[in-house]
């Protein structure tokens, strides 16, 4: 099966490009989506990320990696930033960066944790907290383009921490072939039959795919979450070469 080339080939874009903030959205009390315009952007695949670099007036520089939240759309990129208390960069991006301001981005980066819309097999997406961001790019890329059956299992502390909740509800109704299930770890809604607690094997059995459906599984979130879920999937019978993971640090 021919695989679509990453736009621009798999040659990694090493160049730092100016990126201008054109819009921002509130997702949750701690998460913001930033819409950037990057001149010369050649596109990207869902699941890829960019490095974002900030330079202060005195020349001090620092950079962080952020997953792209939306599929390729000309020169526009979307990042969803979760503010971490005491962080050097995330509070600045979430709260201070204003439309018209510029940062630099490098990418698209990463060729392993990607989903290509030509892939027809079922897909299981398992998200821990802000690990939902690259998976949302896959959900958004699928709409109207692919009939691959998608199941998203999204683990968050409490309902107010769900990023993209209204859009996911709409897509589960309208996109066809997309199922979304939430696992609450600290506080579940009153009418939820599942008591709050960490993701368990039963949750993946109830809301995932049986191994004989041969899904490709994408798991993204804090490292302890990713390791736990990967272990559950393997124990369930999913072969490890069908499980792709992206860990981004932090505690679950």
């Amino acid at each position: 099966m021919a695989r679509a080339a990453v736009p621009g080939g798999l040659r990694v874009r090493r160049t730092w490009r100016p990126a201008t903030l054109v819009d921002r959205r509130i997702e949750t009390p701690s998460a913001r989506t930033l819409v950037l315009e990057v001149e010369g952007w050649a596109g990207h695949l869902p699941g890829q990320h960019v490095d974002v670099r900030l330079t202060a007036e005195d020349g001090y520089q620092t950079s962080r990696s952020y997953s792209l939240a939306a599929p390729a759309d000309g020169a526009r990129l979307e990042l969803t930033v979760q503010r971490t208390a005491g962080g050097e960069v995330s509070p600045f991006l979430a709260d201070e960066l204003a439309p018209g301001d510029q940062v630099e981005v490098r990418g698209p980066l990463g060729g392993w944790f990607v989903w290509r819309p030509e892939e027809v097999g079922p897909v299981l997406l398992v998200a821990g907290g802000s690990g939902v961001v690259p998976l949302m790019a896959m959900v958004r890329a699928r709409a109207g383009v692919s009939r691959a059956p998608f199941r998203l299992v999204y683990s968050v502390r409490a309902p107010e921490d769900r990023i993209y909740a209204p859009e996911l509800r709409r897509r589960a109704q309208e996109d066809g072939g997309l199922d979304v299930a939430y696992v609450y770890t600290r506080a579940a809604p009153e009418d939820d039959p599942r008591p709050a607690g960490r993701i368990r094997a039963e949750d993946l059995v109830a809301h995932g795919w049986p191994p004989d459906f041969e899904p490709t599984c994408y798991v993204c979130g804090p490292t302890p979450f990713v390791e736990a879920v990967a272990g559950l999937l393997v124990a369930q019978g999913h072969p490890s070469d069908r499980i792709r993971t992206e860990r981004f640090g932090g505690v679950s």
């Binding site: 021919a2 695989r3 080339a5 990453v6 080939g9 798999l10 040659r11 990694v12 874009r13 090493r14 990320h49 490095d51 950079s63 990696s65 490098r106 990418g107 980066l109 990463g110 060729g111 392993w112 944790f113 490292t223 302890p224 390791e227 792709r244 993971t245 992206e246 860990r247 981004f248 640090g249 932090g250």
Partner: protein, 102 residues
């Protein structure tokens, strides 16, 4: 005997994509790296990665030996791959020879 505490690496090899772009012309995180210590082959994206400060350290998911170290100084990228015995980097489709012509 030194045991290692459970878990460990905060990141995985996906984090190496940007820094390695300063050194390699192709995406390396999809490459397969063979550990010089235990011989396990892993996709670079799935290596256990520590850092990014003071540097990136990628370890074998099997034996925890160091496969790759990378430090960015103001004027250089320092890269140590001595723990990797082989690296198999996929050639992009568009650059593969067209066998129909042979």
């Amino acid at each position: 005997m030194v045991m290692q505490s459970g878990g460990g690496a905060e990141y995985d090899g996906n984090l190496l994509s940007g820094p390695l772009a300063d050194v390699f012309a192709v995406e390396v995180t999809t490459a397969v790296a063979r550990c010089g210590g235990c011989g396990l082959s892993s996709v670079v994206a799935e290596l256990a990665v520590y850092g990014p400060d003071p540097g990136l350290v990628a370890r074998c998911p099997g034996c925890a030996d160091v496969l790759l170290r990378l430090v960015r100084t103001p004027d250089s990228v320092w890269l140590d791959l001595s723990g990797t015995s082989t690296l198999r980097v996929p050639i992009p489709e568009s650059e593969r020879p067209d066998l129909a012509q042979t």
